[in-house]
Amino acid sequence: MASTSTTAGEQAPGLQSQLMTLNLGPQHPSTHGVLRVVVTLDGEEVVEAQPDIGYLHRNFEKIVEGWALPGVVPFSDRNDYLAAIANEVCVCDAIETLGEVELPDRAKWLRVLFAELQRIISHELWYGAFGMDLGAFTPFLYGFRDRETGYLLMEKATGARMLYAYNRIGGLRNDVTDAWLKELEGYLDFMEKQAFPEYMKLLIENEIFVMRTKGTGQLTREQAIAWGASGPVLRSTGLPWDLRKKRPYLVYDQLEFDVPTGTNGDNYDRAMVRMLEIKESIKIIRQVLRRLPDGPVLAKARAAVRPRVGEYYARQESPRGEVGVHLVSNGRPNAYRLKWRAPTFSHLQLVPLMCRGVKMADMIANLGSLDIVMGEVDR
């Protein structure tokens, strides 16, 4: 698909078609946040799609240079606001490595637990939104029903629905209770027994969905690698690149799980990879619940974090791909420079490539299947 040249289509002689430029967004329900795409259309066919970013720019990287490092952690929630824990864990990893803070065991396991719960919630939201992009409204309600339950669970443990401010340098702010862990188990059971089959029946196995998504928005493995794609977008092309497996952090090396991959790199495969990832996350959380050690969740001596002089690149697998934090420190309590690598920033650059020559409705589907979060793209 990528090599499709722009065709004006067959025209009746004497009929002229005129190119039209359309602004999709920045306020449009199908653009996933304040994303503006300038689309040049030939009839219903997209000639060119240029994403225009920056509407949600909050100057994260510059602001945190002036802040003491503990404050960076809650602020990083605002990057990928749909998977805030993934941001926190990654930035904490960078700071802890440079600050030489040892994590207690329980904190490591709990971080894995929360990161995976966050992955489930994030994919549920994506499921709902992707259904909407394809014109199916019902999956949206189902996805959001379960996402809400997940958020309530998160809120009970962390005190906030989306922007948790839960990780601290050296661990987690507070422990979870046994009652909460029980409740979480109930949620996993519900997800596995009821919600997941429902998701499959409502959308993924639906013939219309399959016809709409198979073969559209196709990416080759080389393209995905060349454009810096990661996460489900890269894995859908058949490359089992998952940082949890390839560069294990926290306690992922002690856990058993598979890395779902696709073969064609089209919208359907991306959807399938995400759905299977929900299953894998459930599996991981169950293992964590079984093996969760006791002990403190916050390391002592965390009052003044003074990282050593040096730099470190922490990378982790967020629901959307590789989140990276490049922290440069000159020994002061604040970062000299903090570079944030956002996976969806790279994915967004694929839009012109994927959308050339497709129908307008498919373009929305392509955008949706990339699972873009503008908070992270613009930072």
């Binding site: 503990p70 404050g71 602020f75 809120e155 005190g159 702010r173 422990d175 029946k201 409502l202 639906n206």
Partner: protein, 163 residues
Amino acid sequence: MSLPRTVWNTVKSLVVGHAVTAREIATRPITVFYPEEKPEFPTGSRSVPVLKVNEESGYINCTSCGLCERTCPPGCIEITQAVDPATNKKKPWPHLYTLDLSHCMVCNLCVEACPFDALEMLDVPELATYQVQDLKFHKEQLLDLWKTGKAIRIAEGQPMPSK
């Protein structure tokens, strides 16, 4: 795929899909007509850090040490220490204590930083105002808020970890 097969599959998936949604007919609607109707707010969500009153002494605990002011990442706390006008000596309580909730990211860091247990995170679900300056709370307003709201003990009744 042949056309009849596609049609058959489409019809099948529509039936399967509707079988899932048909179950919802039997369930009760869960829509709440907010704000006429108040939903049950989830408890335990952080919403505003406030000064609290010491139950024993009846005063605030704050000694105007300024730690929270320095800890707060966006800098939304502003403290002016009380000064005795006669002797020009500093007093261990704040003359002014302002919290700009419009900048606050409700991160709880100030509460954790305070060495005198003078701050508390509250669970007040409805704080929205029409004017952004109404979100600037002074000492007295914070104390009033403290009286109305309830403090959250994060993680279901667990006390916050002591420092």
